[in-house]
Amino acid sequence: MLQSVDDEWTGEQARNDGAGPDGGRNSIIRIRDVEVVYPDGTRALHPLSLDFMDDQVTVLLGPSGAGKSTLLRTLNLLVSPTAGRVMNGENRTLETAGDIRGHRTKTAMIFQQHQLIGRQTALQNVLAGRLGKHTFWRTLWPFSERERRLALACLDRVSLFDRAFSRCDSMSGGQQQRVGIARALAQHPKIILADEPVASLDPSSSHRVLTQLRAICKEDRIPVVVSLHQLEYAREFADRIIGLSNGHVVFDDVPDALTEGALSAIYGEP
């Protein structure tokens, strides 16, 4: 299964770009030779090319500072690559502000610190997922009845229907993260990006959040790209693991292929 490409044979992969679905799968986001250097000179990502396919839970695995968050954020261009291209499912390179906004409406994100508005209710926070679907002026008025029903269905999907009117800052970390998932679902995304979604949660909440993300991927057929630093969770929930170390992709395969050798490449020599 050819999903990532190294620097040397990027050209070959590029020629295959027009060939369409890869093994019956559609790619949702493709990145080519993407490189990120931060203004202070830190090289967060060395040039790398990856395809993200539908119907899969992809885990970005690696220690802190390996470039997981940076890679994830280039996928919706919250971080703009210093060089290289980010393409959507239609092979369109995302360049203009309009392109990027359109791409983001279909690319939902879940954050480590939940990034909810604490003084608003769960329902209000979920409705914020609909922002990209409307103009500025429209969003100054209440959302439609249909969208409120959708938001309630999204809360129901993460088993928080009964907390619809609870202020988010009165909820536990795990519940807040599930509101974040509901907000992502309300966006009707083509792909969900989750940046260390369980890094600040206890094991049982973590398990619940990751189980829900995997169920959403399989049942609603929304691909999920999730960055994690816990190996056990990666093995348990991933269909595909991309191992990152110092901004390089050092592993890209199914979880079963994750040998001791591959682990030391990701986490360094023991």
């Binding site: 969208e147 029903r149 999907r157 229907f161 609603d220």
Partner: protein
């Protein structure tokens, strides 16, 4: 894709929640409407909606503006001293205000006040200081200590405590409880918790408020000239009394320049305090 109808709840339960949400929104709308009505009534009784009266007033303002022209800077040398006096008065007044506001804020913040009664008294003192205009305080202090900048500084400082102390106290109330808990966990005393758990958090905000107040006090100290507190304000009132509009315009322009300098300087200081 999530379908709004694909929900595990009964339709009744969903409709119940939706009507509860509508009720909440109606309450919010009613509150906003009440505020808008209040604003409208205020605009009405103050004749802000009286278009013809406003339109008639415009030419008069134009006349006064035109009488200021050409501006008369001939006495500029006599303004330098009073301008420095005014700056000194604003700095001294602000320093006095901050020195008194820091302890007042500790007493007037719910989470650091030693006793609810102390909290209420401290709030009452701050409200009183805020309620007495600095002009009235100026007159009182001129009567008490005589003419000069001293009554001006006392009036500016005391009146400022009303606002600065209130803002400082509110900042303490909004400080994050976690570092405070951490300080308590080390066995620190009440005062140590305040100086090492609270102050480091609120310091940038205190710097903001102080710099804003300094700029305000500079503008206000020109008004203090009216009650004989000296400074550039005395020059301004002097020119205004003899209806020397070209000189009034010139002094106003000098004050504008000085305010800009004070504002720039306070912005710079604020950045360095962050």
């Amino acid at each position: 894709m999530i379908d709004p109808l694909a929900i595990s709840q009964t339709p009744d339960r969903v409709n119940q929640l939706l009507s509860e949400e509508r009720r909440r929104r109606r309450v919010t709308t009613a509150k906003i409407a009440a505020v808008l009505v209040l604003i409208f009534i205020s605009l009405w009784v103050t004749e802000m909606l009286n278009g013809s009266r406003l339109a008639e007033g415009l030419p008069a303002i134009g006349t006064i503006m035109s009488e200021m022209w050409p501006l008369d800077f001939s006495r500029w040398k006599q303004w330098i001293g009073p301008l420095i006096d005014t700056i000194a008065m604003s700095i001294a007044g602000t320093a006095l205000a901050v020195a008194m506001s820091v302890p007042m804020a500790i007493l007037a913040a719910r989470n650091t006040s030693p006793h609810p009664a102390v909290y209420q008294v401290a709030r009452l003192i701050l409200n009183t200081l805020r309620a007495i205009p600095e002009l009235i305080m100026g007159i009182v202090f001129v009567a008490a200590v005589g003419f000069g900048m001293l009554p001006g500084v006392l009036a500016l400082g005391l009146h400022s405590v009303g606002m600065v102390g209130k803002f400082f106290a509110e900042a303490i109330e909004h400080a994050h409880p976690e570092p405070i808990e951490a300080a308590q966990a080390t066995g620190a005393t009440r005062m140590q918790v305040i100086t090492h758990g609270v102050f480091p958090q609120v310091f940038p905000y205190y710097a903001d408020v102080t710099m804003y107040r300094w700029e305000y006090n500079f503008r206000q100290s020109t008004v203090m000239g009216m009650v004989g507190a000296g400074g550039i304000g005395t020059e301004l009132i002097g020119s205004l009394r003899i209806l020397d509009y070209p000189q009034v315009g010139a002094i106003l322009l000098v004050i504008l320049g000085a305010v800009t300098v004070v504002d720039t300087l306070s912005n710079y200081l604020r950045r360095t305090f962050q």
